[in-house]
Amino acid sequence: MAEEKKLSIDPATLEMIEKANSEGVSTAFARAEVMRPCPIGAEGSCCSNCAMGPCRVPLPRGRTETPEEKKKRRGVCGATVETIAARNFVRKIAAGTASHGDHGREVAKVFLEMARGEAPGFEIKDEQKLLQLALELGVNIGNRSNKEIAIDVGKILEADFSRQEGELVFLKRAPIKRQEIWKKLGVLPRGIDREVSEALHRTHMGCDQDYKDLLLHGAKTALADGWGGSMIATELQDIMFGTPAPVASQINLGVLKIDEVNIIVHGHEPYLAETLAVVAQMPEMIEYAKSNGAKGINLAGMCCTANEILMRHGVPIAGNFLQQELAVVTGAVEAMVVDVQCIMQGLVEAASCFHTKIITTDRRAKIEGATHMEFDEHHAVESAKAVIKAAIDNFPNRRQNVRIPDYKTDIIAGFSHETINYLLGGLFRASYRPLNDNIINGRIRGVAGVVGCNNARVTHDDVHVTLVKELIKNDVLVLETGCAAMACGKAGLLVPEAAALAGPGLRSVCEAVGIPPVLHLGACIDNSRILIAATAMVKDGGLGDDISDLPAAGVAPEWMSEKAVAIGQYFVSSGVYTIFGASWPTEGSKEVTDFLFKEMENLYGGMWGFETDPLKIAKMVIDHIDKKRKALGIDKARERVLYDMAMRRELEAV
């Protein structure tokens, strides 16, 4: 008999799954048991792009297909399985890029409103980041006010969404060699919306039917995410809410409080959550909570909105993606306040078994059965007060079936590029030099970005944690974002004490600098911070002259969303070997998969990989890092030679 899949490695999650099952509450864990993934869709062999289909062209099961069978694997229009798999893949990239892009567009809109004085709840919190962007974008600083500068910066970045010709402004941040590669391949994105729009057009019935050409545009579209929408969102949020710096907090369902009004913010965009973090501390709101029988107001986060306010305020995190319904199952949540992306519709059904209010706040993400209280950035404080008041009013409605799992773990977050630079070099000569030096001398073997979601098809958090433990044990420094960082936070890997689990080299560096071996860089849009960190490593020198030269790799071992595919592709297009776990969406076509896994390395210096076993993933990452170390000539410790003057003269004479 096959061994039953363990649902999670997190005890709080297991306790709440058991509570949900005993109380008859539907969760994603239970639904995943009943709803098996469609095998044809999973391998990318289903085309539903026109009404002559959907056409299903799956690989034969359990045997190799014959050439005759392969020829027959076509849709009604004649589209080959390669075209179908590539189109599906590119559409995922387009959806992911559109999601991050729309986030970035909203940030740019609120940023400009803030600069014009039309959004009084917001202000410029990081003048230095504003000045940095002004220098970069050629905006005159002089004696102008911050708001005047911000208007010019905001206008330039807002134009990146609708630009028809030219190229995105942040592409110039990349290493020069990388920019030349993009130019040669013709994948420099013009405007974010333009590339998404063209991706949808190309994948329409009867348009681009050359899988290599489709995937080339997929790469271009993804770059418009990483070096466009996501990067704009990160940078402008840093100016408005502050560039993250190390901050201590806690994570897991145990951060909920039995005697306080528990409000969970969930989603991805931080404006309302930022305001809630401030308003929840106002004496009048705390007084109102007390008048309703609570001892106070406890704000906690879920998913990437949580990461945003953790990174900047240290607001505790209740859990990652697969824990959202389980937070409701505690019976202790007065309101779950959601914005956009990764919000399960199942929340409303789960909430119907308890007193919890599911409050939608964004015009783009309403849920049937939820309470809609639209956030108005022009009256941010009033919007936040209304939401908190609704939660407080709900406190007396708590029922008897309240149980908060007694699990929470200490974490340190807030490792932006700027902060890593400062921590390594200090205020007077901030630098990545110590990192590069320690990679060159071998104390640090390499760097891995471990990012992405949770996926109900794999044991919750298990792949993330097992993989990361194996990587740090082998002296690989790990950079994390999103739900991956949360999984490792729950496992105690985001504190300096976790250096004890690292190999001797990485441990010595972490102890000297005072950092954890696993650094939390933020939400999923903040994967752009990893691009910047990788670029800084390149520019500092000694590790090649392109991102693809670095002893580094990326992994999304529990991915599930289309955004993850966009992120993966922009890392590949930027020169990073990127491995996905869980499932691979083009397995139906050997040609497309081979192109992504092998040929892309010849084009971009980075390529895709796929593996579900975390220890095998770790080996793939380490092997790749060792390959890059060898290419750089830093794979062996070399004897150090101290040159005297005679030797120097001899060298110069050559």
């Binding site: 220098l135 941040r173 290493p175 710096a245 190390p246 500092d540 090649g544 002259d545």
Partner: protein, 74 residues
Amino acid sequence: MVNKNKVEMKSAPGRDKVEVLGETFEPGKPEGEEMGKWRQKLESRQEKLKYLETGERYYYSKDWYGSEKRKNPA
């Protein structure tokens, strides 16, 4: 001028003891909301621009040597 920096005596090869600069960090752990925050150490606009020239020198300064601006070009 009175030297406020802490000094330590260390043994050195070929010499008995030498005086070296001791630790410069403040004792104790930072507490409260400001814990870990460092950007407010730079107060004026000039200080911030100067920091960008050094800290982000790859983009904003001519004074750096790295993969794209080598002392001895390859």
